[in-house]
Structure formats: C-alpha cells, structure tokens
C-alpha cells in the first residue's frame, strides 16, 4: 500500500499523547490540549495511519529521554469524519511511516475559529480516552 493513498473510513490513526495529558481518575482522562495544534502544525495536526505502523513505532522520533512519557491513542477515521475532520496523507522521510495530518486542525485554521475547534478537541479527547492502545512500560 502506498503511503500517499487516500485514508479510508475503515482505517485507524494514532495520536501520540504526553502523559501530562492523561489522568485516569477523570471521566475524560485525556486532556483536549493533547490535540491542540502548535506552531509546528502548519499543514495540520500530526497523526499516523495504523495500516503502516504499530502504536509504539509512532514514537520513533521522540527524544530518547522523553519517549517513556508517551502513550498512544487510536482514533477511527470514520469517527473523525463525523466530527468534520479529514485525514490527509503527508509522508515524511525522517519520521515514522504513515504520517498524515488533519488539515482542519492546522495552527492557522485552529486560531481562525478557536471557539469552534476547542469544542471539537473535547470530543477528540473523549474518543481518545476510550482507546489508549499503547502505554510506556513501568
């Protein structure tokens, strides 16, 4: 399968989540800030397509001293579409395979309509909370 091939509704994507943003005691353990685009997210919010990598593989380019602080959540592309989000392939040579972005959550798009997207981030956090597929070993 080609990394540039369109992401289908039956696919899943992975999102890396720093442990600062997970608190299992809460009803929504994942904090929506885990999905907030940064100034590096110029084309969209980074995700990795599950058909190309295993959850742990998505952490390959995280600093070695920080990689143990990451979990990985799984999101269904279909669920993202229902939230008005799309997944666009954006393979990179340096990072893990299957890199893609959610263009609706690029930094410029987020800042242009923050009020709307903040609500969507809560929904993303709720979805991610239900499907954490990788946690660092103790």
């Amino acid at each position: 399968m080609d990394e540039f091939e369109r992401a289908g509704d039956d696919e899943f994507v992975y999102r890396r989540i720093h442990q600062n943003y997970i608190d299992a005691r809460l009803a929504i353990p994942v904090q929506p800030a885990a999905f907030r685009p940064t100034e590096h997210d110029t084309t969209g919010l980074s995700v990795f397509r599950g058909c190309f990598v295993a959850p742990a593989d998505t952490l390959a380019d995280v600093d070695a001293d920080k990689v143990q602080r990451y979990c990985v959540a799984r999101l269904a592309v279909r669920a993202l579409r229902e939230l008005g989000l799309s997944v666009v392939p954006e393979p990179t040579k340096q990072g893990p395979r299957g890199h893609a972005v959610i263009p609706e959550l690029s930094r410029p798009a987020y800042l242009a309509d923050k009020g709307r997207w903040k609500q969507v981030l809560v929904q993303l956090a709720t979805l991610a909370s239900a499907d954490i597929v990788y946690q660092p070993s103790a």
Binding site: T38, G115, V122
Partner: protein, 144 residues
C-alpha cells in the same frame, strides 16, 4: 461552580492577587529568583503547586517542540488561582501546561459538565463551559 466562574473578573483584582501572591512588581533582581507563593492556597494548593512546577519546564519539554509558559503567564495563573479561591470556586480537577505556552485549568464534575480556563497570555484567559444538552458557552477574562 459554573456560576462562580461567571462572576465578573476585574483586571485590577486579578493583578492585585498576582502581585500579592508571587512577588509581581518586585525589583528586577528578585524577578529572576524562583517563583513561589507565600501562603497556603487551601483546596487550591495542589493547583498552585502544579503551576509552580511549570517554571522548571524548558522549551521542548515534551520532546516534540512544546513551548514552556513564561514567568509572567505563570504569575497570572497563580493570581487567578488565588482570586478563584477567595470566591469559593472549587479547585480544578487538573492543571496542565499547553503545548503552546499556555496554562489550562480543567473541571470535570460528576454532572457531566466540562469546564476549561485557558490562561493564554498574561492577565487574559479564555473560558469554555460545556454542559450536557446545552450549547457550549465561551467568554474571556477579565470581564471588565
């Protein structure tokens, strides 16, 4: 709880709390010292301690390029914490740094309401309240 958050917040009150609690306005040489509070924040103490701990985050604290909150922003967050304490607002369930240099207070009470206060720059915050079955409400602080 939401009603408490909806109470007006004056810039002067917020700045006063920040100055009282963490040395804002101190001579410049003191401003390079470690940020700390001089009194216990009661039920808000864990939140205040979480904010204080953020001063030790450097840029790229997450290994993927996150920005650390500035000292001025942390002072503002502490000021808002003490102002909320004085008003009897319950402490947040979680306080986290954002990936872009902000500080976020979050409440998730048992009634299903989701509330977030994002201090996005010194003495400025965005509030969002999502109550079950109702449209989300958003506003900014200070209110006057």
């Amino acid at each position: 709880m939401t009603a408490l958050l909806e109470a007006p917040v004056r810039t002067s009150d917020w700045q006063h709390e920040a100055g009282q609690r963490n040395g804002n306005g101190a001579p410049l040489d003191q401003r390079h010292r470690e940020l700390k509070t001089v009194e216990d924040a009661g039920p808000w103490e864990p939140a205040v301690q979480a904010i204080l701990a953020m001063q030790h985050l450097g840029d790229d604290w997450d290994g993927l390029g996150a920005k650390a909150p500035s000292r001025e922003l942390l002072e503002s967050a502490i000021g808002l914490a003490f102002l909320s304490l004085e008003r009897g607002t319950p402490p947040p369930d979680r306080v986290v740094p954002g990936l872009d240099g902000v500080v976020i207070f979050e409440w998730q009470p048992a009634d299903g309401t989701y509330t977030e206060v994002e201090i996005d720059r010194p003495f400025h915050a965005e509030v969002m309240v999502i109550e079950p079955g109702r449209p989300a409400r958003q506003w900014t602080l200070p209110t006057e």
